[in-house]
Every structure is written in C-alpha cells, then in structure tokens.
C-alpha cells in the first residue's frame, strides 16, 4: 500500500503549507514534497506493487507508465517554483503553494484510480484546484482566463460525468452489479449494451477531451496557458492533460473490450488529426508566444490521440510521447515564463531581441522549440517517429500524410514566432531600460534539467520505461 503515499504526501504537505506561517519559507515545501513524491514514484516504477483485485486505486501498469513522469515534472517545476516565488514577493503564496500540492495529490489519485467514479471525482477536483493557480497573477486577464477555464472545463467535466453514468447504465442494463471498477467493466466485455456504450464513449471522449484540450474543445487552453505563471502552464500541459489522456485510455480499454474498438480508433484518429490541423492553423499566425505553447499543446494532444488510435504499437508510442512531450514542454513553459517576465509582454509586436535581454532563457526556448518540433536527438523526435512508424505499420497512409503535413505547418508557425522574439532588434521601449533580466540559477537550471531529461529519454530510453510502456500497452490492448 505504498502507493497511497503518492496521494497522501502531497495532501499532507498541502495542509502543512496552508498552516505554514512563513511567507518566504513556505515555497520550500514544494520541492520537499515533490522530491519525496518523485522518489517514491521512481521506487514504485522499479518495484511495481501487486494490484489488489478490487482496489479503488492502485499503481497499475498504466499508472506506472505515466505517473513517474508527472512526478518528475512536478519536482523540477517545484525547484523552479522556489526561485519564482522569491522573485515575486508581492503576491501572497499561501493559496498558490497549497493548491499546487493538492493538485499533485489529485493527479496522483486520478492517475491511479481504478474506478470510473473515483477517476471522475479526482478529475473534477483537479479542475477546481487549478482555478486559484490560474489567477495567481491577479490581473484582469488572469480572471478572464480562469472564468473561461472554469466554465468550459466545468461543462466538459459535466459531460464526462454524464458519460460515466451512461457507462454505468450500460453495465447495469446488461446485468452488471453496478461495479464501476475498470477490471469489472472490462470483464463484462461484449455483453455491455452497445447503444449505451457508444453514448458513453462519445460523452466521455468529449468530456475528457475538453480537459485534455482536443479541438474543438480546446478553446480554454490558450487563455489559461497564456495567463498562468510558466510553471502552472507546465503542470497543466504535462500533468492535467496526461490525466485526461489516461482517463480516455482507461475508458477506451473498456469500450474496446466490449468490441467497439473500431469506433474508438476511428473517433480518436479523427479528433487527433483535427486537433493537429487546428493547432497548425493557429500556430501559423499567432503573435503571442505563450499562447503558441498552448496551441502546441493542442497539437501534441492530437498526436497522443492519433497514437492511441493505432493499436498496441501506437499506444506504446503515445505513452512514450506523454513522457517526451511533458518534459520538453516543461522546459518551454519555464523559459517562456522567464522571457515573459524579462520582456514584460508576450506578443511579437512588443517583444524582440530577447537573445540579448535574457540570453540563457532565450537559448533554452529556442532549443526547446526545436526539441518539441521533433528535432533529434530530443525525445519528441523518437516518440513521434514511433507514432509515424505505427501509422505506416497499420497502413494508415492518409493519417500519416495528414500527420506529417500538420507537423510541418506547426513547425513553420512556431519557428517564425520564436525567432522573431529571440532575434531582431529589441523594441525602442525595451532598449531604453537597457538592463538585463537577472537570470538566477533557480530559474535557469530547471528548464535545463527538462532539456537534459528530454535528451536522455530520446537517446537512451531506459529499458525500465520501455518495459513499463509495454506492460501498459499490453494491459490496454491484450491481444497484440
């Protein structure tokens, strides 16, 4: 039962943070809890526990395949958080730190949930706890972003609840005893009532797809990512979306077991490609580099969906991509946050010449963009290549073509914007101040760590992780 500590440690730390008196010392709780959490997660990765048959939550192969990534992401972000909160003493951090820790606990719960209902509760709670994180900056724009996030995310999560009910009813209608544990649902297999099953899939995919940010349910993403602090963006893009993706995978497992695999694959492929297309079109013209990261996230969610639609090899690659994308995005969000602070603006008509104003962050940002647009030897290259390989292996030539085309246009858009911001002459207003943004090690080392992790994942993917992904893929697609 060590896995319960994955949930308990952050929640206890959150309680401690809420009660902690010292404004300057409180942020240190973040890396402390994050470090413990990460160590435990890695320990569990190496020594996976045996899952109790009827457990409500547990460190099963799928959790094992993704949870350590979320934990690592949080840990590195929390290191950044200490330095970040130190350079922003004007904002009270009690709620912020508490909410971050609660979020980690809820993510751990949701990723480990073995029950549809519990999964939903954790997902909903994550939505709520994100709100104070989003309006940490307290600006009008931040409130607007939080409002939209809450309304759209709330609607999405409501749909997923309705979907959960439908799935429950499908089970009930076919003679089940109302047990919403995934193992029980999978065991019911083809006996699940087909119309309810389809309704459930539609609603759950739309609901968790909203959380994940698949087009056209992605509309909250640019606002939220654009206004949230960099590290919150990183956690949303790497943590919350992963949770939603895992939820979709778990539901897909049930629906596949009921014999509607062709439908799940068709819908996931269509929504994945559509998301990539929408993201590519938005990326081509967006002038705001933080919103750009949001569209890039939409694109990568599309990639995950496409991967999930391609059977065992595709799911393996998608899990790989969860790791590479999450960690690479971490570097991007953190460095983008630095650049945003250094420049005081985030659109290309106001920001230029950041290679001079914040050289380290600008370089990390450029390298991160190349990494996330699948330049080798960073991890995303390898995971995307695996997905393309899977499309070809499953003879989805059209999907492969569309996939590659979208990657291309996304690349055009992103590099155009990034180089406009990094190079060029600083704008007149920025030139006048002529002071360099203090790039403390605390805000430079974490993104570098992310890049290093991304590099390491690609060049020397640990066999442990490969094995974990294989196990997860085998769990989801039992027949190869």
């Amino acid at each position: 039962m060590k896995e319960i500590f994955l949930i308990a440690i952050p929640l206890l730390a959150a309680g401690a943070a809420f009660a902690w008196p010292g404004e300057r010392t409180r942020p240190w709780l973040l890396p402390a809890a994050g470090g413990l959490h990460a160590m435990l997660a890695l320990w569990l990765l190496v020594n996976p526990p045996v899952l109790a048959a009827d457990a409500w939550f547990g460190f099963d192969p799928l959790a094992r395949a993704v949870l350590p990534m979320v934990s690592l992401l949080f840990f590195v972000c929390s290191i950044y958080g200490v330095a970040y909160l130190q350079i922003r003493p004007e904002r009270k951090n009690r709620i912020f730190v508490t909410a971050l820790l609660v979020m980690l606990g809820l993510l751990s719960l949701a990723l480990q949930a073995q029950n549809l209902g519990l999964l939903w509760v954790a997902a909903e709670a994550t939505t709520l706890v994100t709100v104070p994180l989003l309006h940490f900056n307290g600006t009008a724009r931040a409130f607007e972003a939080s409002w939209k996030y809450l309304l759209i995310g709330g609607t999405g999560i409501a749909l997923s609840l309705l979907g959960s009910f439908c799935l429950g009813y499908a089970s009930l209608h076919s003679g089940g005893n109302g047990n919403l544990n995934f193992t029980a649902l999978v065991a019911q297999g083809a006996s699940l009532t087909r119309p309810w099953l389809i309704t459930a899939w539609v609603l759950l995919l739309a609901g968790y797809g909203t959380k994940m940010g698949l087009a056209p349910m992605h509309t909250w993403k640019p606002d939220a990512y654009g206004e949230a602090p960099g590290m919150v963006g990183a956690l949303l893009a790497g943590g919350t979306t992963t949770m939603a993706f895992v939820a979709i995978l778990r539901v897909k497992q049930v629906v596949d077991a009921a014999g509607a695999g062709a439908m799940t694959e068709r819908t996931l492929l269509a929504f994945g490609l559509f998301s990539m297309l929408v993201a590519a079109l938005f990326l081509l013209g967006t002038p705001d580099f933080k919103r750009m990261l949001a569209y890039s996230s939409v694109e990568h969610m599309g990639i995950l969906a496409v991967g999930a639609a391609l059977g065992g090899a595709g799911i393996w690659a998608a899990l790989f991509h969860v790791w590479t994308n999450g960690l690479t995005k971490g570097a991007l969000f953190l460095s983008a946050g630095n650049i945003r602070r250094a420049a005081g603006a985030q659109t290309d008509d106001k920001v230029a010449g950041m290679a001079w104003r914040s050289p380290a962050s600008a370089r990390i940002f450029v390298v991160g963009i190349l990494a996330v647009t699948a330049f080798p030897p960073f991890g995303v290259f390898f995971s995307e290549l695996k997905i393309i390989l899977a499309t070809f292996q499953t003879n989805n030539t059209f999907a492969a073509t569309a996939f590659l085309g979208c990657l291309l246009f996304a690349f055009f858009g992103m590099t155009r914007l990034v180089f406009a911001i990094v190079d060029g002459r600083p704008r007149a207003a920025a030139r006048k101040t002529n002071e360099r943004f203090p790039e403390l090690p605390g805000i430079i080392v974490p993104p570098l760590l992310f890049l290093a992790l991304s590099l390491w994942l690609g060049l020397a993917t640990p066999s442990l992780l490969r094995e974990a992904w294989t196990a997860a893929a085998r769990l989801l697609i039992p027949t190869p």
Binding site: A125, H135, A140, R141, F143, E144, T155, G178, D223
Partner: protein, 213 residues
Amino acid sequence: MNGTMNLLIGLAMGLSLVALASSRLPSVIRAAAFQGMILGTLPLLLEETFHGLVVAVAIGTILVKGFIIPNLLRRALRAANIDREVEPLLGFVPSLLLGAAATIGAAALASELPLRPEHARSLLVPGAFATVVCGFILLIARTKAISQVCGYLILENGIYLFGLLLINTTPLLVEAGILLDLTVAVFVIGIIVDRIQREFDTLDTRKLNSLRE
C-alpha cells in the same frame, strides 16, 4: 410511484423551459432553484424502503440546489447591483422553441436507447437529456455571467437526474461528488463573478473577450 415521479420530472422539464423564457435574472434563479428542489425529492420516491444514505443525499441536494446556491447567486446579484434584465444572445422565443425541440429530440433519443424494464416507463432518461440540452442553450445563448451559472446549474440538474438511474447500484460516491463539486464550483464561480464585477464593472461576459487571437 412512477406516476408521481414522471409528474415531477415533467415539472422539472417545464422549469428548464421557464428558465429559458424568463427575461429577468431572479426568475431564472428561482426556476433553477425550484428544479433543484424537485430533483432532490426524487431519490425518496425511487426507493421503496428509505435507505439512510439516500435520505441524506436527498436532503443535501434540496439544501444545496434549492437554497444555498440560489442564495449565493442572489447575493452576487445584490452585491454587484446588476441590472436584472437578461440580455439574450438568442431571443427568448427562439430559445424556447429550441428548448422544446430539444425536449422532443431527447425523448426520441431516449426511445432509441434500451432501458431496463423498471425504467422503461419512466421519464428519467428523456427528462435528463432534455434538461442537459436546455442547460446548454442557456450557457450558449445568454450573455450575463449569472444566467450562465444558472445554465450550468440546469445542466448539472440534468446529469443528476440521469444519475438517479444508478442510485440503487452504484456506491453513492458519484452523487456525493456532484454535491461537493457543484458547491465548490459555484462558490468559486461566485468569487469570480465578484471579481469580474470589480474588474470590469459589469457582469456581461461579452466584455470578457480581451483574450483572443
């Protein structure tokens, strides 16, 4: 038993249409609150024997959906001193027609889906779908933040209605989840409404579009 339930569900469906047709915010809030109260009583009718937990759920639902949330909304309305007129993006008559169409559509859809014998004659499924769709219409067709919150409430009511299908079999965790989340959600929404008021001097969400491409 089924007859009473269907009557109440029909009433709830009617209330969503009332919310769609209301031109003043307090009446929208009232419709949503009344709908919540009706739904709260339903679990009691479903069960032959009064299970303790079911009673607790019913009382909780009535309290939260019927009193606490509407009160919060009214407080926000008063505190913000908002113009009580509902400003529709889509007119009342079209909204109403859409709502009616949605109700018919929901009934048609429900008849397509196979039901257990004990639910076959109940209005639960069409009622749930119709309420969800009406909630969506309110969310999409109204500009004021409070009317959108009401839309969201009605949406949640529909889902709750659907959840009643499972109340016998699934552990009540799911229901508890709704109550908890709904409360917190609206609480947070309330805060935000408050903040929106301060920042933008209006509760008109049309003004909330500085984040755009």
